[in-house]
């Protein structure tokens, strides 16, 4: 597994406000639907992107067919698609980086594309691969620990409460 310092993940999760979730599903038992709902509860705006759901709402947010159709700025592009589809999405994000003020490309658990990551980093984007923002948010805010999951976090400071 690629290693990312906790400080980097914390900074991304602190600075991000709006997330475009590529591959968000309207089906409530799908992992993307879980992650979307959780991130909304933590105060993020999550905009679903999925051609199958375009024009309908998922968790009260309008779903768009692709990234370019989103009518506002997005801080993070979260890729909930198989690794073989990631490169094309990364290139779309690179093309719209300045227009949408995109800062971060995040690929979900199991999603990896080193070449695409290198292209994104070359233009100044921050890239995280093979991680879930829901799990990382829960891990760094001690919520994952509530389910007996090894967060790897050790500190004698009182935890800041999740937002």
């Amino acid at each position: 597994m690629v290693e990312y310092p906790d400080g980097l993940i914390r900074r991304i999760l602190d600075q991000t406000k709006t997330i475009a979730m590529i591959g968000a599903s309207a089906n409530w038992v799908r992992p993307s639907n879980f992650a979307m709902k959780y991130l909304q509860q933590k105060g993020y705006r999550v905009i679903p992107v999925n051609p199958n759901g375009a024009g309908t709402k998922i968790h009260d947010e309008m779903c768009y067919s692709d990234l370019s159709r989103i009518p506002c700025e997005v801080d993070m592009v979260d890729i909930f698609r198989r690794s073989s589809d990631a490169g094309k999405i990364v290139d779309e994000a690179i093309a719209q980086k300045d227009d949408k003020h995109i800062q971060t490309i995040w690929m979900q658990l199991g999603v990896l594309d080193e070449a695409a990551a290198a292209r994104a980093e070359a233009v100044g984007l921050t890239v995280v691969m093979d991680r879930c923002p829901k799990i990382e948010f829960g891990r760094l805010n001690h919520e994952l620990s509530w389910s007996g999951i090894n967060s790897g976090v050790i500190s004698a400071k009182r935890p800041r409460l999740a937002r």
Binding site: P31, G152, S155
Partner: protein, 429 residues
Amino acid sequence: MTDQSKNKTFGFETRAIHSGAAPDAATGARNTPIHHSTAYVFDDTDHAASLFNLQTFGFIYSRLTNPTVAVLEERIANLENGRAACAAGSGHAAQFLAFFTLLEPGDHFVASRNLYGGSITQFGVSFKKLGWHCTFADPLEPETFRKALKSSSKAIFIESVSNPSSVIGDIEAIAEIAHAEGIPLIVDNTMASPYLFNPIDYGADIVIHSTTKYLNGHGNSMGGVVVESGQFDWAQNNKFPSMTTPDDAYHGLTFYETFGDFGFTMRLRAVALRDFGPALSPTNAFMTITGIETLPLRMERHVANAETVAGWLEGHPAVDWVSYAGLPSSPSFSNKNKYFPRGCGSVFTFGLKGGYEAGTRLVENCNLFSHLANVGDTRSLILHPASTTHRQLTEEQQNAAGASPDVVRISVGLETTEDILDDLDQALV
């Protein structure tokens, strides 16, 4: 200089004290509070629904999760180099939850024949009523596990150090046999504790503990735990439908896809623990958390005392044989040297030249050793397995498990070494 690009890794002693136990977010309480609450308020109906759907992390009801129990779970997951853990009311309950999550009716698994007697009965007799079948194999002959496999086999189960006779198999070889078959290796690591051995580092996919023993260490609280490595690919074949297909017990959720490398623990908790209910009490969790803080110190002394006692017994004229993997005379000695550089615990067996009668007389003559059915206590303990812990077994099973009628088991405690030897010496007269 600290390297900011990498997360700091902490040593075992630090993790034994701090893992899972940040100060309380609300009060700043430094020690882990005992949360004696059955249930937890919801913010609103939407929050409640999200919790029940497993969409968000949080507490619902202490049969599923409890803040004190969660500290214990994370701590043991961390000390075992695992991804996640789920606690249960006893080691036996933990074992049941693990197998319920793996097996369908009609399924089979292969287990070491050198196990705690209660496990041999659980696997060989009680599990049969659920349609789960077990074949026993010899941990000192790894190929016997391969030969015992069937198309319906879903796991291999061993103890890292066996109770009572201190047998250590070639764990890596047994892990390879399991993985070649596409099934997980489950290792009960109770007799070693994570300080002496981490099975996941040698190929185990699931680790089980009776926390009642060394982890608690003071003989004051029952408990068990199942740890998941996070490294087993449940989707590599069609053997584990409960992990890889929509679950009827959870409105069509697919656990492995949704929770990834902690999906096994989530299903074990959300289905097996939820539906059968052997939850750990928060007080027991607290006692065990406190015990674990001194695990490294205690294990060093347990091992030092046990090595002295085992060597002393081997040289005693009344003693016929000693079965301790830390002795060169043990058939497990090479595996002990390979896997247990810090020692292999303090539980072992020996036989007296006077046979069964001399053994029972020894047990009754002891003054400092407590005659009781437990191991891994601060106190030195002594027992005659054939009439107690291994009583339900046939004589053939007793012999195979290293608990034949002449066998005496001891768990060497933390008392002054001289006092332990003196008590055995006077009792052996």
